[in-house]
């Protein structure tokens, strides 16, 4: 028993450190990719190819003045970014990162918690995430922050609906809410995206809105709201907000890869003749490549599309995505019944 606790603790720490590292380097990659999309070279001064840029940014954020507005609610003001960061780190717990490792006759699953309501857990945690932004924006006692927070909460709540609805068809196909089962069903090239292309599209669009990424970055919206909910934040509290956005990107990439792109499965995995441990490593690398692909798509879209207007955002969410998701459920249900 104590052994399992130790193993899980190590696994959780590794995943936490990994997601923090990935988020750290996403900031650099984002800036690099932005540069390439705009025919620039991107930052390359700090170390070779700029690999120390995230460190420099982090040090800069740590040494910035810790500013707190006079009229801010002190407790909530600090709670906002802390909550956002905390929630962002929680989601990774139910994601299966690779096939089981077998060491000395014992199996070690590369998943912190295989709870039978994995997807529900993710949605529960993600919907708490909106509190971080809302509390931060409210506590700042600033009109821009408040507007950003209100926008964020209404946007995230609306898009969560379509997101969950698009998942229901996956759950109907799989018959399970466990992430592990969903991945297990997508053996080889049997990925859900080929059965649920519409569901995938809806989920992808909603993921952009959930992570507050462009073209749905209305809560931040530099041109209208200065910085939106984090206008009044400075130093590492601002860093937490910015950082959690990248962690969320990473995790939502992982969730999408798990649900639609077959998780750690890839075609012809059985024919390679690998030992089970080598397969675990290969599976993890493939999974990571899929997440990286989604990360790139997030950046790609950000540097392509202009921001939506608020009414367009709401119309897209309520009048297009939700009906489409419901249609998807009905069609899936009919197909399952007829089979």
């Amino acid at each position: 028993m104590i052994f399992i606790v130790i193993y899980k603790t190590i696994l959780a720490s590794v995943i936490l450190i990994m997601s923090l590292l990935v988020a750290m380097y996403s900031t650099l990659i984002e800036r690099k990719v932005a540069g390439w999309f705009q025919d620039r070279l991107g930052p390359d001064r700090a170390g070779p190819w700029g690999i120390f840029q995230p460190l420099a940014d982090g040090i800069k954020l740590f040494f910035k003045e810790e500013f707190m507005p006079n009229t801010a609610d002190k407790f909530l003001y600090i709670l906002g970014p802390s909550l956002t960061m905390f929630i962002a780190c929680l989601t990774s717990a139910v994601i299966p990162w690779g096939p089981d490792l077998v060491i000395g006759g014992k199996t070690y699953p590369l998943q912190v918690a295989d709870i039978n309501i994995g997807i529900l857990y993710i949605f529960a945690i993600v919907s708490i995430g909106v509190y971080g932004i809302m509390i931060g924006g409210w506590a700042s006692n600033n009109k821009y922050s408040l507007l950003g927070a209100v926008r964020a909460s209404s946007q995230m709540i609306s898009y969560e609906l379509a997101m969950s609805l698009s998942i229901i068809s996956i759950v109907m196909m799989t018959g399970s809410l466990s992430m592990r089962d969903i991945v297990a069903q997508q053996q080889g090239f049997n990925w859900n995206i080929f059965y649920q292309p519409l569901g995938f599209l809806i989920f992808l669009i909603c993921a952009f809105a959930e992570t507050n990424r462009s073209p749905f970055d209305l809560p931040e919206c530099e041109t209208e709201l200065i910085g939106g909910y984090h206008t009044e934040y400075s130093s590492m509290k601002l860093g937490f907000y910015l950082f959690s956005e990248y962690i969320n990107m990473f995790i939502s990439g992982a969730v999408m890869a798990t649900l639609f792109l077959g998780g750690y499965h890839f075609p012809f995995i059985d024919r390679l003749g690998l030992s089970s441990n080598a397969m675990a490593v290969a599976g993890f690398l493939v999974f990571f490549a899929k997440i990286t692909f989604f990360g790139f798509v997030f950046m790609w879209v950000r540097w392509t599309l202009p921001r939506f207007r608020y009414d367009q955002l709401m119309r897209l969410g309520w009048k297009t995505l939700i009906p489409l998701a419901i249609l998807n459920i009905i069609v899936t249900g009919v197909v399952i019944l007829l089979k």
Binding site: W36, D39, W300, W303, L305
Partner: protein, 191 residues
């Protein structure tokens, strides 16, 4: 009205078709365009390591020329200072003393000759005004400084070195066309 380019589009608020309304084709087209940019030649360079190629007649930091025997060509006539639209040039003239003939070409020379590089707009009018072929713009860059004071370049920076090997080549800015232009009496500053 003539269009400025053939890329203008007539804007209308007609009802969008179904394909336009679902945005996706337009989104994918846009993403295709941005993806193409990933592999384009970058317009920025890694500056201190890589430098851009300058035109041979680039108008950068000035040089005060010497003649073939190493004597200063400038006679402190002040035409460059008058021609300067930014009023960046000041000079103090002095008379050449006996025994200094190897230093200055004519009886009068510039004891002080200063160009304020912060005021200078590198238009090259000083060069056009100069009747003695004494001042030229070169393709050297004016270095950045932390203070304003060092930007006022005196003779010690502007004057070219005596050593013939270190002379600054301005022949590209002295083409026959340039000389012909300098003799053009319809230009006010050549009178």
């Amino acid at each position: 009205m003539l269009p400025l380019s053939n890329r203008s589009r007539v804007v209308s608020d007609k009802k969008m078709t179904f394909l336009e309304r679902i945005y996706l084709p337009a989104v994918l087209t846009g993403m295709g365009i941005t993806f193409g940019h990933l592999f384009r030649k970058k317009t920025t360079i890694r500056y201190p390591e890589v430098r851009r190629e300058f035109s041979e007649v680039y108008r950068g930091q000035h040089v005060l020329k010497r003649d073939d025997e190493g004597r200063e060509r400038c006679t402190a006539c002040g035409l460059c200072a008058i021609a300067c639209p930014a009023e960046a040039i000041i000079m103090v003239a002095a008379e050449r003393l006996p025994g200094k003939e190897h230093l200055y070409r004519e009886e009068k020379y510039a004891a002080v000759y200063e160009i304020n590089m912060l005021r200078c707009i590198f238009c090259g009018l000083c060069e056009e005004a100069c009747p003695k072929e004494a001042i030229f713009l070169t393709k050297r860059m004016v270095a950045s400084e932390y203070e304003r004071e060092p930007f006022i370049y005196g003779k010690e920076i502007l004057l070219e070195p005596l050593d013939p090997a270190l002379r600054i080549d301005v022949s590209k800015r002295q083409t026959p066309e340039v000389l012909h232009f300098k003799l053009d009496k319809t230009q006010k500053h050549n009178l």
